[in-house]
Assembly symmetry: C4
Homo-oligomer: 276 residues x 4
């Protein structure tokens, strides 16, 4: 495992804060990452506003979205979005669910979101549209039941962005950075498309352009340049997540099994730092 | 009384600042709360910009919107909005009046504001539209007379959000947190609806969805997650209200009767801290 | 003279910064005030970005917009806007010229700006539209010559806001606070009208409403509440103008004649603080 | 050479940060300047987000966009935009390439961007529209090959702003300040035009107005006033670039040949400060 779990949990907290800082997430929405050492698990914060997430908030779940260690804190009710996409798409290692203002007008009208500039090609050739009502009738629109999560994952299919009617969007990525990049630039694409729809006739990317431009951010140059930029913006505001004091203590506190075995819970009292 | 009056006044100041920080209130607008120990009274700041309100600014009023203790400071002229809604709706314990940019286009055109995404279901199934001119002819559009407040309360009826033509909106809640949540997410809904109206045909929530989604924020998870997020954003900017130094002195200074009896006014000079 | 010149110059610097902070002014635009002791003079900053103006930048001009003391610094080329309005309107004691994003779409299209909510009634019953080309043909669109300023003042007539085609707007007031209030809320009105024009049919204020609502901000309550709010927002950012160290030295440095006599220029070297 | 190379590199870093701070650049985009002492070279940062650029990041390139000193860091892949424009336009001494939200709707629809207010006259009488697909078929839309850069430079022709279909814009200037001013105010013009297109019929500048107003910012007054304003805004946020400790060491570190001779590379280890 190239990256320590401690580092992974830090990066997940950071990704949450970056997406909040760039206007994608508000009080709601979340980013997860597949466990780097065990593809049958994923890492996701306990329930709290994304810009507040700390490494010690990041917990481990199996792909049925059950916490590996019985939790002491409240969990996000929409975890199945993550678990079911990880099940359906082995190559996906990060998922973001959001209600960005940029995509909501598309979610409300059903207007097709399509790549209309080079960086918007992160959307891929198609962003499917999922209407929960088709299969489940009247709900509260949250994706809480496993079958709701599976239905969403089916709608996503082999694509990278799925719009959720009257709700928001979910974005998949092949790495945490890929997922953050796709999330931010699909939102920018949505903003520009919204304005362009009113200004005139859109000349969208051709299939060939969409394919070739879709690979730009796969190059380490652009991907890392953007990541450095978003990280520094968080840091300059003094909003970087706190570092965990020790890896062992932190893993225990957060219910994270560092060596793939659940640490005996409650064996030690959580330190004061970890419990906030 | 579960919550001390001192804490209540702090939370009212905080709610004012949170709503200013999230772009709902500017120099104008106000949030009140029903007195936790006496349903025939409510608590509201003296007249000042919401993002400047301090606990010591929060005064006590009867439901005719008369101050319990003769005031030394200028009061909001539109207090009757609060008093008349508290009279008409016993289950309402918090009220916000605002001129948010998000709702003004609806207030100006009479276009119906309707829930168009899950969190927008806080609006309820209907947001009535009140035109002061219908009953009172030409006015300065402020809601100052008791009969104007009563007319507005009648228009609100059993709903949670009422739009006021050429003026703004008023939002009711079953708790301060409920009221803040409804205010912020009804504004977000308005913003997205405005954009969506231009982009295509809106597929609104069905009645069943509106009802079910309208209960999401009644759950402690989402409600508290959002509250923590808005509070922390105020705190991170160094904008949290100052704490009162002592409860007794503060209550006296602000004309707040801690035990349901008016403290003899002027018995002691206000401390320097309280008088700013 | 109730207010010292030192205080007046501080308030002019503050008003410039407030209007920049609220998004009305950027690198360009300016606010002036009639001299409180001599109606045939007015006070305006030397040429610099409004959010950088300091009390020591504020100079004295006659109504032909000539500096009372030969200046050492570059002056705004559009001073005649101020001088000619002060000549034409004895009751006007403050003027703001701006290119706010809010009004530009109206300046470009000629669409009528009209009061569409209670606070927008600061516009008055009409905002005239001035097209420099009508009288002067092709120019660089700046208002530099006295006859251009006089033409603009004639277009303003007895009103409070005049739109300038392909350029911006100019706002008059009966006090500095009145002028700032009219400027900010006429811009807000423009923003809401722009959105409302797209959303549906505007139900504008009736003449009676416009008249009555137009007096709201003449009351000390709302006017001072808004002023306190805008000032505090500038102060909280650490952006309040510096105070002049001494009145006499400062007046001399800035070419301001404290007792209506021009101080002998260059008699003393400017202090280091005053010269920045 | 009036300006030292050290100062030039500081100003280039500053210009990058200013344009990021004013919302023109995000993780992408770049500003270059022709070498003040050798018109056959230009100066451009290594590849990183514009708001992070430091003087020590600024490298020297020949007009074929090859680095003068073999680089140790990753370079922008779109350097040919700069080199080919410097080749084609001897009077151009600064170039900015950007994807500002303001221009994207025009780049997507092909709607003509035209000067519609006095400051927007920086665009010049025409902003040509370049569609890479016309000449090169499907690409990833980046401008990487020399022939792509030459094609763009031909499209720009004698003008100052060229829109790039489904990509962004490139702006030329006769000095760094001129280029920054043209970039920011052409974006503002785009924003206002976008709004005005929806509000009514645009009354554009006449040719005579465009020509005369296009010279406003050539005057030192407006140009320097705006530059001071943008610089101070960066400085007030604590975002000004760091100063290089010593010119010699810095030039060596950055691969910049102070005296037009390449310093022997690797002769000395970069100092710790230079390597971050």
């Amino acid at each position: 495992m190239a990256q320590s779990l401690s580092e992974v949990r830090y990066e997940i907290a950071l990704a949450n804060r970056m997406l909040a800082n760039e206007g994608v997430l508000d009080a709601f929405g979340h980013v997860s990452m597949r466990h780097p050492g065990d593809p049958s698990r994923y890492l996701l914060s306990r329930s709290r506003g994304p810009e507040l997430v700390e490494p010690s908030d990041v917990l481990e779940f199996d792909l049925d979205s059950e916490p590996v260690v019985p939790p002491t804190a409240r969990l996000y009710s929409e975890r199945v979005i993550h678990g079911e996409i990880y099940k359906a798409r082995p190559e996906v290692t990060a998922v973001c669910h959001h209600h960005s203002p940029a995509v909501l007008p598309f979610c409300i009208t059903g207007k097709e979101l399509k790549p209309i500039y080079h960086l918007g090609a992160v959307i891929g050739t198609k962003a499917p549209f999922w209407d929960q009502r088709d299969e489940f009738g009247d709900t509260n629109l949250l994706v809480v039941k496993p079958e709701e999560g599976r239905s969403l994952a089916r709608a996503l299919g082999p694509h990278w962005v799925v719009l959720m009617r009257r709700h928001g969007a979910t974005v998949a990525g092949t790495s945490l950075r890929d997922c953050v990049f796709r999330t931010i630039y699909s939102c920018r694409n949505a903003e520009y498309q919204l304005e362009a729809e009113r200004l005139g006739t859109i000349g969208p990317l051709s299939a060939g352009e969409a394919e070739q431009a879709g690979e730009i951010h796969q190059q380490p140059g652009p991907l890392n340049r953007a990541w450095e930029y978003w990280v520094r913006r968080v840091e300059k505001k003094g909003e970087a997540p706190p570092r965990l004091s020790t890896k062992r203590g932190a893993a225990r506190r957060a219910g994270l099994s560092g060596r793939r075995k659940a640490a005996p819970r409650g064996a030690k009292k959580p330190s004061r730092k970890g419990s906030r």
